[in-house]
């Protein structure tokens, strides 16, 4: 459904230090990244902070800040996904569940925000309210939550509102950016189950997370990223036992460093640094 080929993203920065503060330099945030997302699958993109996961999401959506340098090819359903097409498809074919709960407008009631999302996705104004109602009910948000403002919702409820906003758009590619951060196990299960359900409806779900352990039960495929590069893409069932099915040392070490695998770090040579990154995860 979505093919990413040799995607390179560079963002400008101004270096500190002697006589270089006026000179713009370019930091490479995504480095020759190639990935493929298929319909009906949950594809988890896992990596430590700064691996470029969220930037990947913004690059696909076309929401990068203007001075960004982007090279490589994005293909959506066989046709190149350029800036103009991104603008057409945003909210209709491509949906983003943002990382931060502050993406909800604090001054607008839940129901109305979801209705706006429906209108932006091309629903007729008369239908939009009804679709929003359905989406909210689908995610078990009751009448009270529908009339609430963002600050009156719990973390889990706000997440479900964001998911409902993506759901109401009927988009076929859903990008969920860290949807389980700060949620208790029960709420996390609910959010992940909702994503799995989207994939089962034939949509393609990109699940961006640093939490390998919780992504595995619902994911079909897992891509490990590090420093803007793809380390490895493996089917979810490869993450089992001692990780022998994993090709790359880094992903193996990441897998073995999980608490369930006894925090073992002896498997690789780069152990100390990896332990640190696994802690972040």
């Amino acid at each position: 459904m979505l093919t990413i080929e040799r995607l390179t993203l560079q963002l400008p920065y101004y270096a500190h230090g002697h006589a270089s503060w006026w000179k713009r330099r370019w930091a490479t945030c995504l480095d020759e990244l190639s990935l493929q997302f298929s319909a009906g699958e949950v594809h988890a993109v896992v990596g430590a902070s700064g691996a470029g996961k969220s930037l990947l999401a913004y690059a696909v959506m076309g929401l990068l800040p203007t001075p960004a340098r982007l090279n490589g090819q994005l293909c959506y359903q066989g046709k190149p996904l350029d800036e103009q097409r991104q603008r057409q498809l945003r909210g209709r074919e491509l949906a983003l569940i943002p990382q931060s709960l502050s993406a909800l407008d604090p001054l607008v009631r839940t129901q109305r925000q979801v209705t706006w999302a429906a209108q932006r996705a091309g629903h007729a104004p008369a239908n939009a309210w009804h679709s929003a109602q359905q989406a909210l009910n689908h995610y078990q948000l009751d009448a009270h939550a529908q009339q609430a403002y963002a600050h009156e919702l719990s973390g889990g409820m706000a997440r479900r509102v964001l998911t409902a906003m993506a759901h109401v758009s009927q988009a076929r590619l859903v990008i969920a950016d860290e949807p389980t951060v700060g949620l208790d196990p029960h709420q996390r299960q609910r959010v992940l189950a909702a994503l799995r359900e989207l994939a089962d409806q034939g949509k393609s779900v990109m699940l961006i997370t640093h939490d390998l352990r919780h992504a595995l039960p619902i994911a079909d495929r897992v891509t490990i990223m590090r420093d803007g590069k793809r380390v490895e893409t493996a089917p979810a069932h490869a993450f089992q036992g001692t990780g022998d099915l994993l090709v790359h040392d880094y992903s193996q070490a990441l897998w073995l460093a999980l608490p369930d695998n006894h925090f073992s770090t002896s498997a690789t040579r780069q152990a100390p640094q990896l332990q640190q990154e696994a802690d972040v995860a």
């Binding site: 909210g91 993406a103 001054l107």
Partner: protein
């Protein structure tokens, strides 16, 4: 019940503010070199003997300590008697009433115009950051924000009244005509220039603040999320921007009531418009103590009520500002 309690607290605070203003302005009057007897006598000062002055002072209670005098004044205030203005030879309350009727048209017109226009311009400029339109609006706002009101008023009179002859040079109506004979059209004709000048200055402030809030919003996660849903810039500005920007715009609009009042004193002076501002200047120059005190209290009431309205409206716009707080 809660509504009543809230109104009661607001009112008691308002009374407290007015009391403070009364104490301070009365203190300033006592400390000023104005001699009320001289002011009352005017040019007849020379014909009055010291004994007679003594008699007046005794009759008016000037021989008593300031605190007692303040008490007298407060008691009269409470019964609704603001005193007698010797400049206009009328009760102070009547002077303020008449003058305010004229001023409120000028003030209200300028205020509405500056709030509405300033807000719209700010929203447009903020939504289209960096565009030519934004540059024009910002430049205009920066220039007018740093222009003194009276200077702009003088320029306006020179250009529109003297050179072009489009608008009258002074007053609320043609000279030599009784105020009840002046038609509405003529009244408006006399108001155009003062209102425009006063509004022009208010617009700049509201525009700049609204624009700043809009820029912040357009870069926020709320806007990014809206863009991800396929919203256009206009959509984001209209649905999210209006709500977010209305808060600072409203604060400023109501807070600027006092400033506008000050501005109107200058403007009324330049245009010789017989409003409350001109009465203030006359009362100050001719030592009309009761009128000055009355105007000071009235202005404080006016500005406080404005701020009270803004306070109440916050709850309506931003649900995060909890109800029930003081």
């Amino acid at each position: 019940m809660r509504v009543i309690a809230r109104i009661a607290t607001r009112l008691s605070r308002l009374i407290l503010v007015l009391l403070c203003v009364a104490v301070v302005s009365f203190g300033l009057m006592m400390a000023s070199p104005i001699d009320p007897i001289d002011a009352y006598l005017g040019p007849q000062m020379a014909q009055v003997s010291p004994e007679q002055r003594e008699l007046i002072a005794q009759r008016w209670g000037f021989d008593e300590p300031p605190a007692v005098q303040f008490g007298h004044w407060l008691r009269q205030l409470a019964s609704g008697d603001l005193g007698w203005s010797h400049v206009y030879n009328q009760p102070v309350s009547e002077v303020i009433g008449q003058r305010f009727q004229r001023s409120i048209v000028l003030l209200g017109g300028a205020w509405l115009l500056s709030a509405l226009l300033g807000f719209s311009l700010g929203v447009v400029a903020g939504a289209k950051e960096g565009s030519t339109l934004d540059n024009i609006i910002s430049t205009y706002a920066f220039i007018t924000a740093s222009t003194p009101a009276f200077w702009l008023a003088i320029l306006a009179v020179l250009l529109f009244s003297v050179t072009l002859g489009w608008t009258p040079t002074c007053c609320a109506g043609p000279t030599g005509t009784l105020s009840q004979d002046v038609t509405l059209a003529t009244r408006l004709h006399h108001l155009i220039l003062p209102i425009a000048t006063l509004a022009l200055l208010g617009i700049a402030n509201v525009t700049l603040h609204t624009r700043a809030r809009m820029l912040e919003l357009m870069r926020s996660e709320v806007a990014t999320h809206a863009f991800a849903q396929g919203a256009s810039r206009i959509d984001v500005a209209w649905r999210h921007g209006l709500r977010h920007a209305s808060l600072p715009a409203m604060t400023l609009a109501f807070a600027s009531l006092g400033e506008l009042f000050g501005g109107s004193i200058l403007i009324e002076q330049v245009f010789a418009y017989p409003g409350l501002g001109q009465a203030t200047v006359a009362a100050g120059l001719r030592s009309d103590v009761p009128l000055l005190l009355g105007i000071a209290l009235f202005t404080a009431l006016f500005v406080s009520v404005g701020n009270m309205i803004a306070d109440t409206l916050y709850d309506v716009i931003d649900p995060r500002i909890k109800q029930g707080g003081l």
